[in-house]
Symmetry: C2
Subunit: 457 residues, 2 copies
Amino acid sequence: MTIETAIEAVRKVLGPRLETTEAARSLHGQNEGYYPVTPPDAVASPETTQEVSEILRICNTEGCPVVAWGTGTSLEANALALRGGICLDMSRMDKVLDTQPEDMLAVVQPGVTREALNEELRATGLFFPVDPGANASLGGMASTRASGTTAVRYGTMRENVMALEAVLADGRIIRTGSRARKSASGYDLTKLLIGSEGTLGIITELTLRLQGQPEAISAAVCAFPDVASAVDTVITTIQMGVPMARIELLDAVQIKGLNQHFNATMEEVPQLFLEFHGSDSAVKEQAEIVAEIAADHGGKGFEWSTRPEDRSRLWKMRHNAYFAAKALRPGCRVVTTDICVPISKLAQAIADTQADMAGSTVKGPILGHVGDGNYHTALLVDPDNPAELEEAKSLAARMAKRALAVGGTVTGEHGIGVGKMKFMAEEHGQGWSVMADIKRTFDPRNILNPGKVVEIN
Amino acid sequence: MTIETAIEAVRKVLGPRLETTEAARSLHGQNEGYYPVTPPDAVASPETTQEVSEILRICNTEGCPVVAWGTGTSLEANALALRGGICLDMSRMDKVLDTQPEDMLAVVQPGVTREALNEELRATGLFFPVDPGANASLGGMASTRASGTTAVRYGTMRENVMALEAVLADGRIIRTGSRARKSASGYDLTKLLIGSEGTLGIITELTLRLQGQPEAISAAVCAFPDVASAVDTVITTIQMGVPMARIELLDAVQIKGLNQHFNATMEEVPQLFLEFHGSDSAVKEQAEIVAEIAADHGGKGFEWSTRPEDRSRLWKMRHNAYFAAKALRPGCRVVTTDICVPISKLAQAIADTQADMAGSTVKGPILGHVGDGNYHTALLVDPDNPAELEEAKSLAARMAKRALAVGGTVTGEHGIGVGKMKFMAEEHGQGWSVMADIKRTFDPRNILNPGKVVEIN
């Protein structure tokens, strides 16, 4: 009865902002992956850090699980309340609290989405660069250590969060980091919380590092005879120090999906989508250098443009690649993979995956943030065919094992959630038990998103 | 007698590489700061991770303190064995184990110095960018989260270490991170160890992120009427997105010191030393933009050059600023400060410090990594005058308090060591007790560099 007792106590704090309706619970049991709907017992919508602190104090006393929820766009069921309890919907904590253009930073509540922040920043000449595609909440992005298309230039959430306020399992409120751009003052609690998927504390405020809006932006697209040529182009580009803003690989299947979805006519071969940020002359120079490198590797039809409409069309396609992939097989669910390997191993990793998929009943497109060595497959499965789901999972497991064998990671940016737990022991070895020790220290009653990241008793 | 027992047991492992001579102990009790010589009881020089593991296992059983030692160049006595025990001299673990130019990474043992690594990398077209001035060991740099003149462009050790091997207090060997450029796989143990000053584990291997050697490098120098004008130049430059490689402020006193030390004739006013990395046209464009910004803020005599000899002369001066400062007062010791504030607060912080110093008996130059909001004073004190040392410490404490009041940190890059411990509670609040909890989890017997970073019983 501890969960029920906790819910009643939290209701006294939040009033109608504690919901137990079927509709609210079911909405917060959804996920973008292939996992079954898993409703929490209640949905709490705090508006202040103090309320989060009170809720956690109650739940810690009662041993009630607490899972934070941003926009529900994560792909690994990271915010699914596997053991029931209270879902903390952070969407009412959606204020931009402070913007300091001179210091190139903004302080936000966790429910602010990245698009809402960039809208608010427009007039300042600054922007927040991390772009996972979905209009995710910044708290959720920090919790999963999200990145996306621009990480090759601007880094991931790891590099772009300067400071946090977080509530610990027992209700204590801590502040980590500072507004200084660097510090050598003690253990890096900010980085420890980023990527912890809500298992060590609930993020209630983020201080984010901003970037200047580039004077000029150009985009380009280029077709390649095969994946290896495209990847070699990327390796040379990065080694030459061209500061690419985006450099995305889409395989022939993904291009086919986009052609269908957007009624486009791209050649159905591997393509690179690229973006350059800088001064007028810098983006011109960068595009020319990359065009030459691409040509050396058999690239064809390299076209670049600074026209905003060309650029938005390109990135609209890229951002909708997931939905275009889904549309290749109407009614399907998607098993997403998120391998990240050293870039020298990327072409082989993708070739192995293509060969593996060719011998499998499960198919799907491949696309990747190739500048980071990170690629995804979207394995399209019939939700009513358990054998297909199993085949997709074992295909994904083989990719994961091959990635670990070459010094990579099973998740570049989606997080562990549910689907990657089974690889943790192999990826981290003894380090995984150290993570479990840290979890026990932060959350001895295991109330914070239990069952995620680590396994503890 | 536990320390003695441990020493004898370690002697059985290392033979003559365990030293207890006065000379060895005294050498490893030195520091670059103003702290008295504090010799450890013994100096152990392991050659393998396995030896480090055996030593830690012994010391954990015996409760014997263990402090790792790189090159002894840290400024806060970070590697001083405050409670005696064994100093682990890592200088024999000095191999570059692997270089992967395509992946732009190198794997090194902790005793490799940054200059030795860059020497070895020369033919690859790559370099390791973090440059604290001193030819420090990479293990030491990671442990103190070092940075220096190039952090404004390339980041600190935090951003440039991809993976670690470390030995925990009980002798377990863990591997953190991977060779992938990003990962969302679990708690960031790499970042937790970086900056932990040897209190959570001993780093035995580092995987480092490398950068392409720029096609062109130019350097520039520019004089300003006052510190505020120089800092405003920096703020505008960074907001405009000019990718400065170095941007260093030296105040009039520091310039005077350099003039004396190097027989130079720079105008004794605040100066910026700058460096640009990029293509030939990019460094030209960057220098022109900055020249214009500087002129708008009253900068005079902006000169830039791509001649290597001009550049090395400039950075030789900058790198020897500490020694030039010391030479301003022969026989002195130096109390170094390491404030880092949001850049918008930097001009005021320096002005407050100058005013404070003007009313004090203790003087010294000011210089800073202004792109990061980080500045140092080198307070020159007579080692035989305790009153002066006290005055320097209280001057430093007032700077620290002012930095914390504007959202800064008391140490941008030197680490906590001995001198910054007294500010930890104020800087981190509840977060400091969380750090202590982490320390207890990693090192329950408190054998790893005890007395540093956190206070535990």
